[in-house]
Symmetry: C2
Subunit: 331 residues, 2 copies
């Protein structure tokens, strides 16, 4: 286990520190919202496209989090979304070393519009595996957190997944009866067979009535798009979303959410279907891949283990989705 270098006491201390940090950072996000509500609009600086607005808040909160971590754990590496953006490098910089990977503000578009689905995301990674995660969405005061040996929690009082007496298996006819979480993302280029078209084709397969679209129609129970990869993962850990499929986000968007989902009992693998989706091994998460497929925690049924029902669901999704192409710069 990658956590073997740390004692439970050490993990607990890091966890408590991260929870405290998440709350304080979220409060900073909310303070700025209150300023905007009471005092009028502030100006936003546009980044590379109209879908990617970075605010001064984003940078300030990252500085706050980085300072706190570097002061408390100078021996740990630190990577933040703003650090990456400023350095003009989007290489995968995570190593075997214990690393904090944070997004000071996930759901930036939601934040600028004051749609409550924005949050701070703090992940702690050991040997490429996110093990501690804290996500705080301050507008609705929802704190998601997890630590090895301690479980995953909403507001430190409801254990995740919410329904756990018992944890339901994945539906026998998944993806039917599943809530499918997906995002349109920022790549809106209208290129034939480009990422946007491949995404939409995949969405339509998941949505369409059973048996339609050459047998690919999945008739999912609902299609949801929140505009925050971090919160998509949090709601998957909660059991609210059954499946999340996404390409194009970065490790700082998913590190904390993956830690929480894995601790809750979820599964994460690649969004891109292998050549034979029915039999190919279900690869473990590749954190730098920018391609993620997540399935909620699942318990056993009379005929399957929870893991078997999750893997069956992964294969059913793979049968319905297209390959996406999100290289890293220079990769």
């Amino acid at each position: 286990m990658p956590v073997s270098n740390f004692t439970q006491d050490e993990l607990d201390e890091i966890y408590a520190f991260a929870v405290d940090l998440g709350r304080k950072a979220g409060d900073m996000l909310m303070e700025r919202v209150e300023q905007r509500i009471s005092g009028g609009e502030q100006k936003f600086e546009e980044k590379d496209s109209s879908v990617d607005i970075v605010t001064q808040t984003d940078e300030d909160v990252e500085v706050f989090i980085r300072s706190a971590i570097q002061s408390k754990y100078p021996e740990h590496k630190f990577l933040g979304e703003e650090t990456y953006a400023k350095g003009q490098s989007r290489d995968y910089l995570i190593t075997e070393q214990p690393t904090w990977c944070i997004d000071p503000l996930d759901g930036t578009v939601n934040y600028t519009h004051i749609f409550p689905m924005f949050c701070v995301s703090i992940g702690f990674i050991v040997q490429h595996r996110p093990i501690i995660g804290v996500i705080y969405a301050p507008f609705q005061d929802q704190l998601f957190s997890a630590c090895p040996g301690r479980g995953a929690w909403l507001n430190e009082k409801r254990q995740l997944p919410l329904i756990r007496n018992p944890i339901p298996p994945m539906p026998a006819n998944a993806p039917s009866q599943c809530i499918f979480s997906c995002e349109w993302g920022k790549d809106r280029r209208d290129i034939p067979d480009g990422n946007m078209h491949r995404k939409i084709e995949s969405f339509m397969n998941m949505a369409a009535e059973l048996g339609s679209r050459d047998g690919k129609g999945g008739m999912v129970h609902g299609m949801r798009s929140l505009g925050s990869a971090t919160l998509d993962l949090a709601y998957t850990a909660m059991g609210s979303f059954d499946i999340w499929w996404e390409g194009g986000c970065w490790e700082w968007d998913v590190a904390a959410g993956i830690a929480i989902l894995l601790e809750a009992g979820g599964l994460v693998t690649t969004a891109n279907p292998p050549e034979n989706p029915d039999t190919a091994p279900i690869q473990d998460l590749s954190l730098g891949s920018r391609l993620y497929l997540a399935v909620r925690p699942a318990g056993p049924s009379e005929t399957e283990t929870g893991r078997e029902s999750q893997e069956r669901t992964v294969r059913e999704v793979w049968r319905r989705v297209r390959h996406l192409s999100y290289n890293r710069p220079g990769a």
Copy 2:
């Protein structure tokens, strides 16, 4: 004005009654969630498709609301989502009379999965115009409400829209920079040029980069799907969503949300573009139409009134969306 039959005191009394009723009904929804979390899963009765599950809760909450209204205001008409469903009639039953139009549980799919975007929706309609609305989403304790002469509110303490010093105009290049709220809905039939395909084509036009798709690319800031028409309208009233476009929902899904959006200063018209979207008059809301296009509250810019910027946005949406076909049974 349709409210002229009521004094402000009468409206205030109805409003206070509706807020209290909304909170109590929402608490009932949440009690059942707590039972499911602590005591395991309950069984759900399936309605006409896997996307439409009705729970016992739904019926119980409607009975509670109906009894309270009929006891307090026996002279008012009452129409509830479950009343319609049970009667096998989905005719438009609203008349000139003061009518309560309620949905005991909007976002049923979210509710069954315990995704927090579910709510109770209580609308009070006079002469076909929703004038008082209460929406309560108990999981995140968000109460949206409005009454003529009293404004629109979140949790009775934040006036809507949230940013109002001043209220921003619609963006000069709308729908760019707008959050576009839309739902996949329940009609997933894979019919060429059917509603699902027309919706997706419209979604793609709104999402795609500017100038693409024969000039229809709208490059909206974000695409959001929550699975609750009621909350889509509430977040539009809040100013979080700029545009909501939907076909297929019913008057009980939208009555309360429209009352709140209109009181906040929003605009509601038809989803279906007229023959000449550039010059056709912007028709007033038709409550029974099952076709809705809503634009958030907007203030003046240096060159336009708020209403002008809303109407400009309506026309830009109409240029990009397809006609939808949702008849009423028998119509």
